[in-house]
Amino acid sequence: MISAVQDLNDDKTQADAVDVALVQAYQRGNGNALTELYRRHGRRVESIARNIVGPSSELEDIVQDVFIELQRALYRFRGDARFTTWLHRIAVNVALQYLRRGRRKGFLRWVGIEKAETSQLHAGESRLEARDTCRQLYDILGKLPEKKLTVFALYELEGMSLDEIAAALGIGVNTVKSRLFHARKDVFETARLRGVLPPHALQVVR
């Protein structure tokens, strides 16, 4: 077990070193380094963004904007923090910007799910059911204040650790815990009030 954790840490350190090397290559003028950074972290950025803004038709643009912001900021990156922490912070900020804009034009937000990949649907679930569940969840999340929503989405949906969230948002771990505690209660209460937790919804949870 210990050796496995050690290997994992080694992998992390190695990944960080690769990231730093790519950033330095980019700073020297190698544009391909950005493409490689996208290849390595694009999915994660996309995942963070979609868990904050929901199934938005603008997801593609959000990811692109994250990498545009990253491109502008890469020149200033000095390696004081982990690259992934830095990138997550950019992703969260860009996603929140879209979210604020999206709240003003919410009718556009549900277009994306129609094009969802079939593999993303849960077993035995039709596309219509998946769309309905998704809509209900993001309806509920849409009522959350932005700070609670961000923490909740990053932890419950994205699976980031408390430390990672704290670093990405630039807040303390205890603040993350507090926001998560209240967000859980709020979302649960709203879900119950809306009746989105019928008995037959019981599923095997991992």
């Binding site: 996208y38 593609e60 692109q64 094009k115 969802a116 419950e156 505690f181 879900a191 019981l202």
Partner: protein
């Protein structure tokens, strides 16, 4: 985030189960290593229902995760990022010397843009501090030349003979002896020159290096004002009116029998109704320009293009439409101030018609400029 549920003999609350299972991402892994909880859960139907609810909730969260991009969208995004990477060029390195030069230039520009105006505004007489205003008032202005018999009274109220070199301060009063033959003359170099006819009396409402406001109480006072520098003001109050100098030199005359008149031979004088020299400009009654005579007598106002050196009009005062006036003293006594060379204006107010209270005496409607 994991918390100990201590009251196991009692049922943990729903919020506690919510947090506990949430820390394990909605799984019952949270119960691993907690035989007390496991044992409690097995024997407690209510808690089982609660945990079921919580697990459904977390299942709902998992199923509700938003779908990601389609393959088509992802390819499109790949293409865009590749283009983005290709467009990038490393910014040129700026030599350190250039950086320092730019910083120095920016700092200099900031000083000129922000600091210098602040320093200038600090010396602006209109924005001077209270302490500066007090200091300027105490300093007053220095007379350079005094001809004839002129008395002045300071804060102590004692009348003394004014001599060259004496300072005139705010609140001082000046008067010429009634039996004096020739007019008396007081010269403040670089500022103004006052000529008081016999029996004239005036009060220095404000006198400092920037401002000079006089109130002509009685008699005839001739004022010659040197060119005003930026921030300097010179004004004469008389019988509820204020004459503000827009030029350099002027004369004010106010006579009991002739009403008020302002004659301007050079430049311009603004006339408005105000009793406070520092009051903001009220609605200007008229601006008298060079070669014009403004007259207010018997409740009527007129503006003539004919220059008249000195107003000696024998206008009979009437009380039908009283003009505004500020103090009873000026209403009882003739006041005259005159200005000889560049700008002259003469103001005459019929003293009998002066109301005692300014507030009760707005300017009459008939007091609009009209050709006489």
């Amino acid at each position: 985030m994991s918390q100990q549920i201590s009251q196991l003999p009692g049922c943990p609350g729903r919020d506690e189960w919510l947090q506990l299972l949430g820390d394990a991402h909605g799984t019952t892994d949270a119960l691993t290593g907690r035989p007390d909880l496991t044992a409690h859960l097995e024997g407690c139907g209510a808690c089982q229902d609660t945990v079921d609810d919580v697990r459904r909730y977390y299942g709902f969260l998992q199923r509700g995760r938003a779908p990601g991009l389609t393959q088509e969208q992802r390819l499109s995004l790949d293409e865009r990022v590749r283009m983005l990477a290709g467009q990038w060029r490393a910014p040129p390195r700026v030599p350190a010397r250039v950086g320092w030069a730019v910083s120095f230039a920016a700092a200099t520009a900031l000083v000129f843009l922000f600091v210098a105006p602040m320093l200038r505004s600090a010396t602006d007489p209109d924005k001077q501090t209270f302490a500066q205003a007090v200091s300027a008032a105490q300093k007053g202005v220095q007379t350079a030349e005094v001809e004839g018999d002129v008395q002045f009274a300071g804060v102590d109220g004692h009348w003394r003979l004014l001599r060259a070199g004496d300072a005139l301060r705010t609140g001082d009063k000046l008067r010429s002896l009634k039996l004096a033959g020739a007019p008396a003359r007081v010269v403040v170099p670089g500022r103004f020159e006052l000529t008081l006819t016999a029996g004239a009396e005036l009060e220095l409402l404000t006198v400092n290096p920037s401002l000079a406001f006089l109130r002509v109480r009685q008699g005839e006072v001739e004022c010659q004002v040197d060119k005003l520098r930026p921030g300097q003001k010179f004004g004469v109050m008389f019988a509820g009116f204020r004459a503000s100098v827009l030029g350099t030199r002027f004369t004010v005359t106010n006579r009991e029998e002739a009403g008020v008149a302002v004659q301007v031979t050079d430049g311009a004088v603004r006339i408005d109704a105000a009793d406070d020299p520092q009051a903001p400009p009220s609605e200007t009654l008229t601006t008298v320009r060079a070669g014009h005579l403004w007259n207010f007598a018997a409740g009527r106002m007129s503006l003539e293009p004919t220059p008249v050196p000195t107003v000696q009009t024998e206008a009979a005062p009437t009380a039908s439409t009283p003009p505004p006036a500020s103090d009873a003293e000026s209403a009882d006594r003739p006041v005259k101030a005159k200005r000889p060379v560049q700008k002259e204006f003469v103001i005459e107010v019929p003293p009998q018609s002066m109301p005692m209270d300014d507030s009760a005496a707005p300017l009459p409607k008939a007091a609009t400029p009209a050709k006489r």
